[in-house]
């Protein structure tokens, strides 16, 4: 089955995750003599959906809001506005027991495998914790034996369950984090820079593992990353974020082969190619990403855009579908 056929099949189904105009603003403390409160608009009106069994990647540079968006979906930070629908249910305002019931459908794998595993718990207990918590197995013993099975699924050994996280390498720890994430048979896994801290030879192992698990367990991934080569390899669709907004969203092949937004073009051009026979003459984007506290009016990208015109400095472009399933937020594309 081709990717497009698969897409067509899943298009009729309701999406697994649906964000509508999601905003996450962080209020800053009011300084002396300051009359208005400033806010960091980390996520500023994002709408997108993740279909079943697909990998939707979110790419962008530091501070573009991609991680905050992931944390808002997991409800680790509260959304300021907008809705988050998971499997048809709006979870954006839920709390306590009701949120807990929905949360098992989504899990997370984070960047730093050293910080995301408790150093005082044995690996078996780390993986068994969600199982016990949600009562999917009865008894500690059953939970631990399931944990040992899960370790095998992610390419480690069952007997590793009795070791502590510090006894493992970075790549092995990431496998442990993945075992914990799939323990409850979730539908969605949010991977926040899940392979960024790993060396390339180990990174390849983890990317392959994530793809194998997706096939085996019909997982959907929201894959937050800054490495475009990894994203090109793993994604079904890709969304590019800049200063809290999505500037382009398309099928992986479309985005990499025919990018339309000037920022996407610049991002792709900036990636160094591991092939010295390809000349590296490229248009380097000038300047830095502006502060998200005071983003430029109009199109957020106008300060760095080589094609910016007066209209871009006044009017914010909306994300519109310029070709089937290809969304771009630019006045001139």
């Amino acid at each position: 089955m081709t990717g497009h056929a698969k897409e067509a099949r899943t298009e009729g189904e309701p999406p697994l995750l649906e964000l509508t105009d999601l905003k996450v603003h962080f209020q800053l403390k009011k300084e002396l003599f300051q009359t208005t409160k400033h806010a960091v608009k980390a996520v500023d009106g994002v709408s997108l959906s993740v279909r079943r069994s697909e990998t939707l990647s979110i790419v962008g540079e530091s501070g573009c809001g991609k991680s905050t968006m992931g944390r808002a979906i997991l409800r680790l930070v509260d959304p300021t506005a907008g809705t988050i629908k998971l499997d048809g249910a709006d979870i954006s305002r839920l709390s306590g027991k009701r949120l807990w019931q929905h949360r098992r459908k989504m899990q997370a794998v984070f960047q730093d495998p050293f910080a995301s595993l408790s150093p005082r718990m044995k690996v078996g207990a780390i993986i068994a914790e969600p199982l016990v918590n949600y009562g999917t197995v009865t008894g500690r013993k059953a939970a631990l034996s399931r944990a040992a099975e899960l370790l095998e699924v992610v390419g480690l050994k069952g007997e590793h369950a009795s070791k502590f996280p510090h006894e493992f390498s970075g790549g092995q720890r990431q496998r442990i984090g993945i075992a914990r994430a799939i323990a409850l048979n979730p539908d969605l896994i949010i991977c926040d820079e899940a392979v960024s801290a790993l060396d390339v030879s180990v990174q390849a192992q983890i990317i392959n593992l994530l793809m194998d698990l997706q096939d085996e367990f019909k997982l959907s991934y929201l894959f937050i990353a800054h490495d475009l080569a990894v994203v090109d390899h793993i994604s079904t669709r890709v969304a590019v974020m800049y200063l809290g907004r999505i500037v382009e969203l398309a099928h992986r092949d479309t985005l990499f082969d025919t990018p339309k937004h000037p920022y996407t073009e610049a991002l792709l051009a900036a990636v160094p190619t591991p092939d010295p026979s390809i000349s590296s003459a490229k248009a380097v984007l000038s300047g830095d990403v502006p502060s998200p506290i005071n983003p430029p009016p109009g199109c957020h990208f106008n300060t760095r855009c080589p094609y910016a015109e007066d209209r871009c400095r006044i009017e914010s472009p909306v994300l519109r579908e310029i070709a089937p399933h290809h969304f771009v937020s630019c006045h001139y594309r």
């Binding site: 089955m1 081709t2 990717g3 497009h4 056929a5 698969k6 540079e61 530091s62 390498s169 970075g170 790549g171 092995q172 060396d199 390339v200 030879s201 180990v202 990174q203 390849a204 192992q205 990317i207 392959n208 793809m211 096939d215 800054h226 490495d227 475009l228 080569a229 990894v230 090109d232 390899h233 793993i234 092949d253 990499f256 082969d257 610049a266 991002l267 792709l268 051009a269 900036a270 990636v271 160094p272 190619t273 591991p274 092939d275 010295p276 026979s277 390809i278 590296s280 490229k282 380097v284 984007l285 000038s286 830095d288 990403v289």
Partner: protein, 334 residues
Amino acid sequence: MRQGPPPILEMRDLAVRFSTEAGPVYAVNGVSLTLREGETLALVGESGCGKSVTALSILRLLKSPPALTTQGTISYNGSDLLALPEAKIRSIRGNEVSMIFQEPMTSLNPVLTIGRQITEVVAKHRPGNRKQARDRALHMLDMVKIPDVVRRYAEYPHQLSGGMRQRVMIAMALACDPKLLIADEPTTALDVTIQAQIMELLLRLKEETGTAILLITHDLGVVAEAAQRVAVMYAGRIIEEAPVAEIFADAKHPYTRGLLASIPRIHNRHTGSARPRRLPEIPGVVPSMTDPPIACQFAARCPLAAAQCRESAPPLRPMLSNHAVACWNAETAA
């Protein structure tokens, strides 16, 4: 034989050991490197392979203890840097040989203005008065394309973005016209569009000043774009060294080949296919560096490993005129 400009730095058989609570860690085990005038040599490898320790040894920036240089020489300009008195090495550091690091925030002094920090380097190493040093600092800031230099001169590091701070580091490192610049992961902490700016700047300045660069990095994309020669390190040793085009087109060592195969690349997929191709992976993990290496350190992960590989470590030997490999099976691999 290799021809070209005369060497400016020759490292011979360097070994560095760290004493830790868990016992000695053999970080660098017999590394030899030659850097020629005006060339860019990339030292690549994964975390813990010893590339940064090798780089830090040149200017004697490793804290001792725990670090101990157990053998080797690093000859620069006719003298052994490892044997020079501290005062002499200080006159070379930041002057003839300078260094930039990954995280510019931690390498700049947070309580001094950036202008003062550059001026200080110039005043220490170059003849002339304070005014001339200040002019030189302003000139350098201009050269690394910091906008509005007079205002920026009086600013503190925290007022600058990450990319700007790395520009300041480069301005400082090049202020005394060094013969050699050691760049340790100079763009790793930066976003990709800023990385492109910094690499473009480094390469342009290299053209203008003729400085030789020792580029330490794990990013093979950066290597392909910036280096002339590449030395690949694994577990404290150089396992392959060749001109950049040859490393990418015709790597001989199984580790180099595995490394190159495992990088995800843009547009290296079957367009339109349902599933992306699996990435070739190097099985296993990097060996622990607490045991002194006797055999080939890559043997446990190597698809070509034979009995000999588990008994003795292969030396780095030339295969072609300018391509050296440390592998017993390199011929069969080719």
